[in-house]
Amino acid sequence: MVKSEEELTWKDLEVGCVVSEAGNASQYKTGDWRSMRPVWDSTKCIRCGVCYIFCPDMAIHKTDEGYFEADLYYCKGCGICAQECITRCITMVEEEE
């Protein structure tokens, strides 16, 4: 893996700042935009997957038990999952830091 963006010096940059490697958007940590994170209440969750379908960043995945959780590396905390959840089992919780 190449240096993170914070470690790159001006000499490390490609001519004209082109991105020569395909698919490297996955390295981009959109999770640090987040001010609130989704928390699931498994007692209310019916495992319907509506949150998974509506997540605009595909940051929600299914666990082995069939419930759902967010990958906080990518989750921006937009709250669409909580809005769309049929049983209202998702709460948006303030990030501490």
Binding site: L8, G16, C17, V19
Partner: protein, 392 residues
């Protein structure tokens, strides 16, 4: 060597672009650039030049097309003036930061208003910091030679930057001069095929013009600045090799009787030749006067300039643009800044003149010299700048 022909400078410039075997021309007509692109469109329409001529609906589109065609690896040319450059402005900066080696001829014309079509340097000074290599030419031969030079330097792998060739509108674009054309063999020897550093190609996809966060932007700008500074060795090499091939030797800073003179005029562009006439006349009168011509404006030739002014007491800087409410003309401001840390810094006398085609004759330069002398002797107050010839 090629033929020497009497031809309008604009047509010669277009012929030079043709000889450079350009692939794409995207331009919108604007006075006084018109004859250059008109002639290119004729050459393409008549089948004399195998290139795409893209008649866009504005200069904003012209420069956008140029970015696209240069990015896929096509040798790309455009040409504009004044308001056209202003409309291109947004994309001009992008072309430099994407490191796309586009060649632009800028037929210098005043920025409106009042609406004017005539020549001065307010257009090019408005994009001073756009990141392009910028050179000035004094006559038609220099324009022709610098078309070849521009493609060669811009496209060289160590540079990969766009370049502007400045020539004065009307006083150069619309005059007929004897110009020595290059023969095809010389062009071939001087100008290799364009091999882009980065290329948009389906076999090897890249992203150009991506978003840059605050965490990377400072590094991106440092890299861009270094690229422009580091273009200079290639610029010098291209001039040297041109000298060897065609016998005309260009320098970033050129001098005329400057060494050992007390006073020098500093000129850029076509004023240079008239000033040389004034210098001859003043020297005949026994005055210690010379001339420095700044050919390379960006990257600024610091070493060559400081060397050229060593021992000189006064520089009369001629500016063809106003920095409204500022410390003088844009050229004089830079010259003061370049020399500020020098020991024995010469006095800078700044005349703003020749706005929007107002003629400045050799007699006018002699009058400027005399006014500068009076200031030197304390008989007239030393001003930061003087708008020469203005009716009070």
């Amino acid at each position: 060597m090629g033929e020497r022909v009497g031809i309008e400078v604009s047509l010669a410039a277009a012929e030079a672009v043709k000889m450079a075997n350009v692939d794409v021309i995207a331009a919108y007509p604007i006075t006084p650039q018109t004859h250059i692109v008109e002639h290119l469109s004729e050459l393409v329409a008549d089948g004399e030049l195998d290139a795409e001529f893209i008649p866009v609906e504005s200069e904003h589109s012209a420069m956008s097309v140029c970015c696209g065609s240069s990015a896929v690896g096509a040798r790309t040319f455009t040409c504009t003036s004044s308001q056209g450059l202003a409309l291109m402005n947004e994309i001009v900066f992008i072309a430099a930061s994407l490191r796309l080696p586009i060649v632009m001829i800028l037929a210098n014309r005043s920025m409106s208003g009042p609406l004017s079509i005539w020549n001065d340097h307010t257009d090019v000074m408005s994009i001073r910091d756009c990141g392009w290599i910028q050179v000035f030419t004094e006559n038609g031969q220099e324009v022709f030679d610098h078309v070849m030079f521009a493609f060669r330097v811009a496209e060289s792998a160590s540079v990969s930057l766009p370049i502007i060739i400045n020539l004065d509108g009307f006083v150069l674009t619309h005059v007929i001069e004897p110009i020595e054309f290059w023969d095809d063999e010389t062009v071939k020897k001087y100008l290799p095929d364009f091999k882009p550093v980065n290329q948009l190609h389906p076999d090897n996809p890249v992203t150009m013009g991506a978003f840059g966060l605050p965490s990377i932007f400072t590094e991106a700008k440092k890299a861009q600045n270094e690229a422009l500074i580091q273009a200079k060795p290639e610029i010098l090499k291209a001039w040297k090799e041109m000298g060897d091939l065609v016998g005309r030797h260009y320098q970033p800073v050129e001098t005329y009787h400057a060494e050992g003179s007390e006073t020098v005029f500093l000129t850029m562009g076509s004023f240079g030749e008239t000033v040389s006439v004034a210098v001859d006349e003043l020297r005949n009168q026994g005055k210690s006067v010379g001339q420095i011509k700044l050919r390379l404006w960006r990257p600024f030739p610091f070493d060559e300039f400081r060397e050229a002014v060593r021992g000189i007491k006064r520089i009369i800087v001629l500016d063809r643009a106003v920095s409204f409410g500022g410390p003088g003309g844009p050229v004089a401001s830079e010259i003061r800044s370049v020399l500020y840390q020098e020991e024995n810094m010469p006095t800078i006398t700044n005349f703003l003149c020749g706005f929007a085609g107002r003629d400045v004759t050799a007699q006018d330069y002699i009058a400027m010299y005399e006014q500068a002398e009076q200031m030197a002797q304390g008989r007239v107050r030393q001003e930061d700048y003087i708008i020469y010839g203005v009716r009070e």
